[in-house]
Amino acid sequence: MTIPNFDAINVGDEIPSLTTEPVSRLTLALYATGSGDHHPLHLDQDYVRSKGMKDVFAHGMLGMAYLGRLLTQWVPQEAIRTFGVRFTAITWIGESMVCTGKVVEKLEQNGEKCVRLELTCANEQGEAKHKADAVVALA
């Protein structure tokens, strides 16, 4: 994987998108194992019903991990300088996540040529679940 050239990237450019498989109960069980987060809200339907919710739902950090994959399929991970997310809505079982990103600023930071990206993780109906931004150093 090569790092894109700063001069070849323009504000408004979109990076290649990423669409995930629908989030399943198995996905959440695997994420619990991989992340160490075994909170019953994500695993135990009896528990969530006792709390008045309809079903288990995805870990917020699963969506951020998908956005991380969106970045690392575009640039090697060592090019990422900052990566931040705001969790705005719940992701339910059966929803596929559509991760997209676009360049909103070209900047120089600590002597490096960087771009700032706005990233979104949404369902297939376009409802945004997480809004994120990242600064990535380019060649």
């Binding site: 995930t20 498989e21 996905t27 695997l30 994420y31 194992t33 991989g34 992340s35 160490g36 987060d37 917020g60 950090m61 699963l62 951020m64 991990a65 998908y66 991380g68 994959r69 970045l71 690392t72 399929q73 991970q77 060592e78 990422i80 300088r81 900052t82 990566f83 931040g84 997310v85 705001r86 969790f87």
Partner: protein, 146 residues
């Protein structure tokens, strides 16, 4: 009830984590990762890496990898049932691999509220280092609903 701002500056007990290739393999499987550098030790070594790559958001998992990850919230007298993860921000300095021993050193750096206290925000900043060298900073913003 508003959280006492005297808690700004509270240190979180430090802890150390050594990510394993085994756990990173499950994290990769859960997140649909297809790049073998994140889950195949042999492929990572062939690429000249000392272990599999720790992915960008896994630092949060390691920060939580302790007996009572929210003890600082409990100390403030907040109800865990009203707690939400509002924001998560990472700043990266160096790549990290399975087998690295990482030190997590955190502190509560801000407490503020919005909507007349209906939403309160607790900001925790954590510095992650490997043998004294900074590798990553985390900022976790927890929201407490009234």
């Amino acid at each position: 009830m508003l959280i006492d701002k005297k808690h700004i500056g509270m240190k979180v007990p430090p802890h150390a984590v050594t990510p394993t290739a085994w756990q990173l393999k499950w994290f990769a499987k859960a997140t649909g990762e297809t790049n073998p550098l994140y889950f195949d030790e042999a492929a990572a070594r062939k690429a000249g890496l000392p272990g599999v790559l720790v992915p960008p958001t896994f630092f949060f998992c390691m920060d939580m990898d302790k007996d009572e990850p929210f003890d600082y919230i409990a100390t403030m007298g907040c109800d865990f049932g009203k707690m939400l993860h509002g924001e998560q921000i990472f700043t990266y300095h160096k790549p990290v691999y399975s087998g690295d021993t990482l030190d997590f050193d955190g502190q509560v750096t801000d407490i503020y509220d919005k909507k007349n206290g209906a939403l309160q925000f607790i900001v925790k900043d954590v510095k992650v280092s490997r043998q004294g060298e900074a590798v990553c900073d985390l900022r976790t913003v927890i929201v407490i609903r009234a």
